[in-house]
């Protein structure tokens, strides 16, 4: 069995396993499982509602930025810099979109693989980049929003540093392995 197959099986079994273990363990420890479940689940609605203002603020700003075509301008400004390390200009929109928008970067990844082929260097690069970081700004908005935190201190800078490190490493490792 390959690594991928093993991981696939684990990820399918994980959730049923966790639910099963929690219920049986709770029952064995004489927890009133049904009542506790409902007690905990009650909060679900409140958490979801609490993040709405934060999500609206963040997604609208990202939406304006995407619709305006500012991304193309940014690509034009940054491409001389990224050319210095041999980073392909075609993959630059992906690097810029990834921290901002999940659906946006998925679209860019699909588009690049359609034009250049999924097994081309560019295709391998953008799909590695897609998996190497998360949509930082969305995660920050949702997670801090859920507990009403407005002053995020160094979270944005640390998050962006992590994105840059992930994207650059993705580029160098792809060059090493596929280049």
């Amino acid at each position: 069995m390959s690594f991928k197959e093993i991981m696939n099986i684990i990820s399918i079994v994980a959730i049923p396993f966790v639910i099963f273990t929690f219920l049986i363990y709770g029952f064995a420890k004489k927890v009133k499982v049904y009542e506790s479940f409902v007690e905990g689940a009650k909060e679900g609605f409140n958490v979801a509602v609490r993040i709405i203002p934060y999500l609206v603020a963040m997604l609208v700003a990202i939406g304006i930025f995407r619709a305006s075509g500012a991304m193309d301008v940014l690509v034009a400004i940054l491409s001389p810099l990224t050319n210095l390390i041999g980073f392909p200009a075609e993959a630059l929109p992906m690097a810029l979109m990834r921290p901002l928008s999940g659906s946006g970067s998925l679209g860019i990844m699909t588009e690049i693989m359609k034009t250049h082929g999924p097994d081309s260097f560019l295709g391998l690069l953008v799909s590695t980049m897609y998996g190497s970081t998360e949509t930082t700004f969305y995660v920050l908005a949702v997670y801090f929003g859920s507990v009403n935190i407005r002053k995020t201190r160094h979270a944005v800078i640390a998050g962006v540093i992590s994105d840059i490190a992930g994207l650059l490493t993705a580029f160098f490792i792809c060059k090493l392995v596929f280049g």
Binding site: S2, F3, M7, N8, S11, A14, F22, L23, G26, K29, V31, S36, E39, G40, A41, K42, F45, A48, I51, L55, V56, M58, L59, V60, A61, I62, G63, I64, A67, S68, G69, A70, V73, D119, G123, S127, T128, Y130, G131, S132, E134, T136, L140, Y143, V147, N148, I149, T152, R153, H154, G159, S162, D163, A165, G166, L167, A170, I173, C174, V177
Partner: protein
């Protein structure tokens, strides 16, 4: 920090949109008020004040030059058109936008903002040149402020998406908060925290080692690594709730929160499921080829992020925010 980034996204977006629109109108990108010549084949004889359907034909060369397009390779363009003529050979034409319509017309139709499935044109000339074949000159409706309209649409659309995402979370959120409550009362979360203590006491020194926050954090990170996005978010929000209980000032992020979030945003995963699925759908010979490179990328992002968070939290500007809060608190208490 968030203030500046948020403002920058909006301001840069609006300035770019306005700038692009001014530029596009100055070069008349959409050829407002310019006559477009084409041939139309009609199935029936045109009569005054009735609608007739036909096919508009134009050479790719003419189209390319007319709109000053850089990459246009199509030889001939054929598009469905509906005509309504007056007695003096003028009238109106409606161009139906379909899958086969050239991209630039699609863009123009989209740029109107309303009725995006058709382009309306004034017929300036209409002459018979052969059997069922007519020569026309068309002036398309004016198209302007395309980017600003798109930005406006995005504002409405994205506020809608934000609410839909939040509402979509309610179900899984309730499920996992319920399960976690059982685990908490049974002592399972504490047990989990105890197991990973050697690692977490370094990463999160300000959380008591057997606090439920650690259990929730571990479950969230595990879910992320297995690519279980649906479970990861509720577990992560549960962890935030626990971290908030330990947070001295409730509107400011604590050191542990930032460290936890950076681990979350760096997307360390063992199975990049989405990327693999897209690659497979596009006919890749080896969709899973990116697993190893993605693990390396995600790992590097996590290390860099955690290191950055640990260094930055000691900087005066970020530390000050926490201390200021404490002073305020003392004043209130005093």
């Amino acid at each position: 920090m968030m203030n500046y980034i948020w403002l920058a996204l909006i301001i840069i977006g609006i300035i770019t949109a306005v700038g692009t629109d001014i530029y596009e109108s100055s070069v008349n990108k959409y050829k407002n008020d310019v006559e477009f010549d084409a041939l139309i084949e009609l199935k029936e004889k045109p009569s005054v004040e009735t609608q007739v359907k036909g096919i508009l034909k134009v050479s790719g060369e003419y189209y390319k030059n007319f709109y000053s397009l850089k990459n246009f390779t199509q030889d001939t363009i054929r598009n469905e058109i509906t005509l309504r003529l007056k007695s003096d050979s003028t009238g109106t034409a409606i161009l139906n936008i379909s899958e086969t319509t050239p991209d630039f017309w699609k863009l123009m139709a989209k740029g109107k903002g309303t009725n995006t499935d058709k382009l309306i044109a004034n017929v300036k000339k209409f002459e018979k040149v052969g059997e069922n074949s007519y020569k026309v000159s068309l002036v398309f409706e004016k198209i302007s402020l395309v980017k600003i309209k798109q930005v406006l649409n995005a504002v409405i659309e994205y506020s809608d998406i934000a609410v839909k995402i939040a509402i979509g979370l309610i179900g899984v959120m309730a499920l996992w908060l319920g399960i976690m409550k059982i685990g908490e009362l049974a002592g399972l979360i504490n047990l989990l925290a105890k197991i990973v203590k050697p690692l977490t006491k370094r990463l999160f020194p300000d959380i008591p080692p057997e606090h439920p926050a650690i259990g929730a954090i571990i479950m969230n990170i595990s879910a992320n690594m297995l690519g279980l996005g649906n479970a990861a978010t509720p577990l992560g929000l549960k962890a935030m709730e626990e971290l908030q209980k330990l947070n001295p000032k409730k509107d400011t992020a604590s050191d542990s929160m930032v460290t936890f979030l950076v681990i979350n945003t760096s997307g360390m995963t063992l199975i990049p499921a989405t990327a693999i699925a897209v690659r497979a759908a596009l006919g890749s010979g080896d969709p899973a080829a990116i697993i190893s490179t993605t693990i390396v990328g995600g790992f590097a992002a996590t290390i860099a992020g955690v290191t950055a968070a640990k260094i930055l939290q000691r900087l005066k500007i970020f530390k000050k925010e926490l201390e200021e809060n404490n002073e305020n608190k003392k004043e209130v208490e005093g």
